[in-house]
């Protein structure tokens, strides 16, 4: 079994007396694709935010690669090797597509701050060529010099994915990567993610509503309900778990 990359130990989180998460234990192992599922209000988003250190747990600890995440600023967490793709794409809307990706590459190369004042930000340089290739691989090759803000929503997500991968992270967090997508687009996204997995072997944590996506991609699944982990295991175990069916599948009728 692979070593643990993200270790969530006995985490509680209360918002003004409301238990968003109680006693959550979760180990994400290196190289696996781990899906976190659960009905609305189960605490998925809270857990994700705890995973990336944006929300500090009321109790318990979060260790990534042996390091405490809580209390670190987003850029520090990113520097540790955690990349996150948002449900609503967060991109540099006023920069071109290739500039977006180059920024991501520079950050990975240079750390949080380096005053690169007199060199040139050159799209024809080495970084630029790599960025162009990475974009072409995910089908954004035609949009290199378009403003990122003008892309369609799906393309923005793809761009964000390219940016995240460009940083060569240890762990990729995907927040509902197919939300609001048509079936065909969902399938394309699944293919893309599979492809990425095959090429890089990266650890992926995915939060998803769509069971089709989850069962197509996940190696292991954690089911949340009411802020608690009610089941954990490989997809086959989850499918047959009566607790899960009651809490989740029953509701969704998948």
């Amino acid at each position: 079994m692979n070593p643990t990359l993200l270790h969530i130990d006995n985490v509680h989180k209360t918002f003004a007396g409301l238990h968003a998460l109680s006693d959550v234990n979760l180990d994400i192992r290196e190289g696996e694709t781990h899906a976190i599922i659960g009905p609305n209000g189960a605490g998925k988003s809270t857990l994700l935010n705890v995973c990336v250190g944006v929300i500090a747990p009321t109790k318990g600890k979060v260790l990534f690669d042996g390091q405490q995440l809580t209390g670190r600023r987003p850029f520090e967490i990113n520097q540790l090797g955690v990349a996150r793709v948002f449900q609503t794409p967060e991109i540099f809307g006023d920069l071109t597509v290739i500039e977006n990706v180059m920024m991501a590459m520079l950050s990975h190369r240079d750390g949080a701050f380096r005053l690169r004042l007199l060199s040139r930000f050159d799209e024809r340089g080495q970084v630029g060529r790599r960025a162009a290739k990475a974009l072409a691989d995910l089908g954004l090759g035609d949009h290199l010099h378009h403003l990122a803000g003008a892309l369609s929503r799906g393309d923005k997500r793809r761009l964000e994915l390219v940016m995240s991968l460009a940083q060569d992270p240890k762990m990729l967090l995907l927040d509902e990567p197919t939300a609001g997508m048509a079936r065909a687009d969902t399938n394309t996204t699944i293919d893309i993610l599979r492809d990425i997995k095959r090429k890089t072997g990266i650890t992926i944590v995915i939060i998803e509503h769509d069971m089709h996506v989850v069962f197509s991609l996940a190696d292991r699944i954690t089911v949340l309900a009411g802020g608690r982990v009610i089941a954990q295991g490989v997809p086959e175990e989850i499918k047959g778990n009566p607790k899960v069916i009651e809490a989740y599948l029953g509701e969704e009728q998948v």
Binding site: V54, G93, A112, R120
Partner: protein
Amino acid sequence: MKHISKTADFILLGCFALAVALGPFIFAPIGAGYPDLLQKFAIYGIFAIGFNILFGLTGYLSFGHAAFLGVGSYAAVWSFKLVSMELLPAIGLSVLLAGLLALAIGFVSLRRSGIYFSILTLAFAQMCYNMAYSVLTPITNGETGLRVLRTDPRYLDSALGYSAKMPTLFGLEITGWTGYYICGVVLIAAFGLSNAIFRSPFGMTLRAIKSNQNRMGYTGFNSRPYLLSAFVMSGMFAGLAGALLAATDPLAGAERMQWTASGEVVLMTILGGAGTLLGPVIGTGIIKYFENIFSAYNETMLSAMFSFVPDGVREPLVKFMSLFVGDGWQLTLGLIFMAVVIFLPGGVMEGVMRLFRVKHTPRVRSLGDSPQRDMLGESIIEEMPSDYDSSGAHKHPAKNNVTPVAP
């Protein structure tokens, strides 16, 4: 933005240098071909170029940049008094002190963004201004202003046995055409430097901060040192401009630090086009030119100008027009200010681009739109209670038990 090659930048810089060199001939036909005015173009151009590095690239609107200009002036005059009449030590001291002040002010102010940043910088600049008139009178000489005296010690000069009546650069007096060309060379250098910054990864980082500061954090950038660097740089440019101002007229007064002076540099930058390379220089030229022309007009000149108008109409017309010239120039300035913000938010450069149908990076949502990150990684929502046009992501719930009643 379209890719711009190194060669293109060198050509731009070359053309710019040529324009500066031919300044006297270019500006002669519009009646601005004399050294004092062109010198002002150059000096305030440097000021605006520096301001643009902060405002144009990051979108952080500082309302206190005049403080750095003022500090630069005082530092230069002190250098003329105590060290030497030579310009270089004065520039060194001015840039250093302005940079240090910018470091201190920026360190505090950049903890906030949006209008809070503007108000903080404004508060700091007012503080400097008030202090220059009160506690710091021994250094600033209060309302009289600080001037260079013949009896000043000038230790370096007396050690070297050098003496000059006016500030000099390598023995050349910084007056008349010599003065203009000295300032012109500094302007070209400042322009080249700003060009390099715009094209550098640093410049791109600043533009990315302006575009989406959240994303910067998630991409692994710590925005604050970048912002602080930009702030200090623009402060140093202002200090440099202040030193040149003191060199061409060795008298420093606190009125250079007043917030209307800060407002003027904002205007020059946005009039030309914030975030563009040439914009600030063009904006400066327009403002300083009109200031010069308009404030020189008086009623007699207006009467002469409108001599073709019938008598009955002429007098009220002249009366009306005289509101906008002479002492009334400030009124015209305010009107230009409003007109630019209302009709041409992208400035003259955008207007030109539109004319030539060149695709231009559209104006960026600037202040207030980019939430900042706090120490704990929590998002500071720089949000206004009724910022109803924002994405809606951070909307306040109506939490009070206020029941709206239909009219």
